[in-house]
């Protein structure tokens, strides 16, 4: 099958000259040019319709990875304008992806040892998307994710120790053990969750973007923070997705909608669930650019991300980016993963984003084998340290059960002595008596307390 490009900006994805991109691409991404280039879309749609209707068991045709095939010769001086990335950026990106991979592998190990429990959804194989976007963000920018959020939190800067502790359910976790795998929140790093319901994070992300605009226009603050919302292919059939595409475009909010299209929603193939599987097309329907990119190639994702983020920061509104990617493991650690064709898995395993970047860095003399090995070693140590830290951290004390339900704990109401319950120090310790006795029976003084 030929590698038909179903992207609307083929030049962007294959062009090696990153420096000249900004102007040319902003023109392409401008909504008005979309309206003028309807015929361009129609041509591509008609061509691609033949290719995109396929059964679930056939391998999926993907946009080719031009970066690996082209061999670039470095020039005499070490500045290589043909390359998409500098050495430092390359190593940073490599390290982040390796951290994501090593962390998730360690999670699987810990889960099978019984240290982690409940629902755990791993991100193996999709690292290019997270790293490609999040490494371009500042600390003030926000990230909103789904239940597959460990790596988004790590890329945004939440320390591995805190994420691992959270997964172990310890009090040193980023949410003190109260959130868990699916609810990673960090105010410091602006990670706004971690949502279990698909589609739930999209309006919240749109709201965060709304805040940037409100701060700038009403509160007159100097704010150009953007928000990136990550979600999957299944979510793109959900009502909230469309509601937010509409409002984000209507109010020109600084948000990037990133679809991590890994072709599967638990056991439901994207093609079986969606009338028109090309998700990027849903963007222009709402008046924003829709881009399709090879999500297994971090450099391509990074280029697209740069454009989208710059667009949002300039106040030009939202972008919808569909990243074609793949998860190497099942939906969650409880998923036997029997429905996916092994040939499909093998096809994508060959396109592992970490291996691809490693090859690129070495072939373009941006890094040596030894340097990359030392990064892997460093990451292994970080992950080991995170596990040890989580292991030796304490579980939450009993008193933590009733903490943080409200920001204003007077929400617990008035106790039997006529004063607010939260003012009684025995309340959270669990030694208070009173009207909530039945609800807090196990906390009454009759029982052994910690």
């Amino acid at each position: 099958m030929t590698t038909t490009k179903i992207s609307i900006i083929p030049m962007l994805i294959s062009s090696p000259r990153s420096g000249e991109k900004a102007d040319s691409c902003s023109g392409i991404l401008n909504p008005s040019s979309f309206l003028g280039s309807k015929s361009f879309y129609k041509k591509h749609v008609l061509v691609n319709k033949i290719h995109t209707r396929r059964s679930a068991s056939a391998p999926v045709s993907a946009v080719s990875s031009d970066v690996i095939q082209k061999k670039k010769k470095p020039t005499a001086d070490l500045v290589t304008p043909n390359l998409l990335i500098t050495k430092q950026e390359g190593l940073e990106v490599y390290e982040d992806m390796v951290l994501g991979r090593a962390f998730e592998d360690k999670c699987a190990e810990m889960y099978y040892r019984g240290k982690m429990f409940g629902f755990v959804h791993l991100y193996n194989g999709q690292e290019a998307v997270s790293t490609g976007f999040i490494k371009l963000l500042t600390n003030g920018d926000s990230v909103v994710s789904t239940y597959r959020d460990h790596v988004h939190a790590l890329s945004k800067g939440v320390p591995a120790r805190q994420v691992m502790s959270e997964l172990f359910g310890k009090t040193t976790g980023c949410c003190r053990g109260q959130g868990g795998s699916m609810h990673m929140f960090s105010k410091e790093h602006n990670v706004l969750g971690g949502f279990a319901f698909i589609g739930e994070g999209i309006p919240v992300a749109t709201g965060a973007a709304f805040t940037s605009k409100y701060r700038r226009e009403v509160l007159k603050e100097d704010c150009d923070d953007v928000t990136v919302a990550f979600f999957g292919d299944g979510t793109c059939n959900n009502g909230q997705f469309f509601e937010c595409l509409n409002m984000a475009a209507l109010w020109k909010l600084p948000i990037i909608f990133v679809v991590e299209n890994n072709l599967w929603a638990i056991g439901m193939s994207h093609l079986r669930a969606t009338s028109d599987p090309e998700i990027w097309k849903k963007g222009p329907a709402f008046g924003m650019p829709g881009i399709h990119v090879d999500g297994m190639d971090v450099l391509k994702v990074r280029e697209v991300a740069k454009e989208a983020v710059t667009r949002a920061r300039r106040g030009e509104g939202p972008t919808l980016v569909e990243c074609e990617t793949y998860r190497f493991r099942g939906h969650s650690l409880a998923d036997p993963d029997e429905l996916r064709d092994p040939a499909e898995k093998a096809h994508y395993a060959k396109r592992d984003p970490i291996t691809a970047l490693k090859k690129y860095l070495i072939e373009n003399d941006l890094a040596t084998e030894a340097e990359l090995k030392s990064i892997s070693k460093k990451i292994d140590e970080i992950v080991e340290d995170a596990v040890e830290f989580a292991d030796r951290s304490p579980v939450p004390p009993r008193s933590q059960l009733l903490e943080n339900v409200f920001a204003d704990p007077r929400g617990f109401g008035i106790g039997p002595d006529g004063k607010y319950r939260c003012e009684d120090p025995k309340f959270t310790e669990g030694t208070a008596q009173g009207f909530l006795r039945s609800a807090l029976r196990f906390l009454s003084s009759d029982f052994i307390q910690i």
């Binding site: 959130g179 105010k187 409002m247 209507l250 617990f412």
Partner: protein, 393 residues
């Protein structure tokens, strides 16, 4: 008398009649209008009228009256003026002046950046408001009725109520969800449900239900200033009702504490708890009961979550009898929770079984006579109180 003055006099008297049911704000406006029109030649009738109006407007001893609608509107204006982070979002809140005119004049005062007309996307815009609240803004989300909040309930519960807990205190959600709740008149099954019990069951939410204008002002201010998500259940039929308000209530910092019920009427024979519209019916029932020598204590709950169990239990320990009144469905309702609370904590004090008055266990019918049967009436409360006093079966 000059013909114009006569006409103006009639106009004034009709206006002043309206003002008795209407608002203080209207009166003050009226004064200005009359002086303008009179243009200096003020006859005796006009003078009397103006003086009377002036005495009503500026006397601090006399109680002014205000409709619930104006109470809510004035609160929104004051809070939005005081804090630029407060903004209003909902269907028809801007150009339409509010589906029930609660947000009248706000678009003109604060502009479209702070009074947002949304498309018909409850799930979407509620989620957007929650996301804005995560970052410290203070959204007020108006649902045209709380029935439509069911389209957004995932956000109210999962991304608003639970977030402070899931993030272990990092992300608080200072948001207010408000709108009319419960039955209106003849609007059918899908527009008439009461959501107090559903929302009050959820930890992390605060649920308020005002009755009078004083409640409306005080509780809405408390809700907007509160750092947690608050569900504010108004009632469409109360919007036009006028209540006396003191100067203290009109103060721009007047807040009522969340979690404290109000004893609207003291009594010693039976306790009647109610919230929202049912408080009015309970008070009427108390009047009728007084004629039969039964002294009823009426408690206006004000706060459904947290429930003021202390006040309820103290009252039951005094009167030894309890009638709970609510408009919503009976199973797992607010009355059920009050019953449980009283039985757990004041069982020995009860002299009679607790009487629960609730809406009929049916979707709201349309026909007017059936609708009357499906919603508690004053007679139902009177009968229940008498039953608990062993005066009738």
């Amino acid at each position: 008398m000059h013909r114009n003055e006569f006409k103006l006099g009639l106009e004034f008297s009709s206006l002043s009649e309206k003002s008795c049911q209407g608002s203080l704000l209207e009166e003050i406006n009226m004064l200005g209008l009359l002086r303008q029109r009179a243009g200096g030649n003020v006859s005796w009738i006009m003078e009397q009228g103006i003086r009377a109006a002036a005495s009503r407007a500026f006397s601090s001893s006399a109680k002014e009256s205000m409709t619930v609608r104006d109470a809510l509107n004035s609160t929104l204006v004051e809070e939005m003026s005081a804090d630029p982070k407060v903004f209003l979002m909902g269907e028809e809140v801007g150009e339409y002046q509010g589906a029930y005119k609660i947000s009248k004049g706000l678009l003109e005062k604060f502009g479209p950046d702070r009074v947002l007309d949304t498309p018909i996307t409850e799930a979407g815009f509620t989620g957007i408001a929650v996301g804005a609240a995560y970052h410290g803004l203070k959204p007020i989300v108006e649902f045209m009725t709380f029935n439509f909040s069911m389209q957004a309930i995932d956000h109210i519960i999962n991304s608003a109520a639970k977030s402070n807990y899931m993030s272990a205190g990092q992300i608080s959600v200072p948001i207010v969800f408000r709108g009319p709740n419960g039955a209106a008149a003849g609007v059918g099954a899908q527009h008439s449900q009461c959501y107090a019990a559903w929302y009050a069951a959820c930890p992390g939410l605060k649920v308020l239900a005002p009755y009078s204008s004083e409640d409306a002002r005080g509780l809405l201010k408390a809700a907007i200033r509160d750092p947690d998500p608050v569900v504010f259940l108004e009632n469409e039929l109360l919007y036009g009702e006028s209540f006396p308000v003191s100067a203290e209530v009109l103060d721009s910092n007047f807040c009522l504490p969340i979690g404290k019920a109000k004893i609207e009427r003291e009594g010693k024979d039976v306790t009647i708890t109610a919230f929202s519209k049912m408080v009015g019916l309970a008070l009427q029932a108390a009047d009728l009961l007084a004629k039969e020598d039964i002294s009823a204590e009426v408690i206006n709950l004000r706060s459904i979550r947290p429930l003021d169990r202390r006040t309820i239990n103290d009252s039951v320990r005094k009167t030894n009898r309890l009638v709970t009144v609510e408009e919503g469905f009976p199973q797992h309702g607010v009355g059920a929770e009050i019953c449980a609370s009283v039985i757990e904590d004041s069982f020995e004090y009860l002299d009679a079984p607790i009487e629960r008055i609730a809406g009929a266990d049916v979707p709201m019918p349309y026909a007017a006579n059936l609708e009357r049967l499906a919603v508690p009436q004053v007679d139902d409360i009177v009968r229940a109180a008498k039953r608990s006093c062993f005066r009738s079966r």
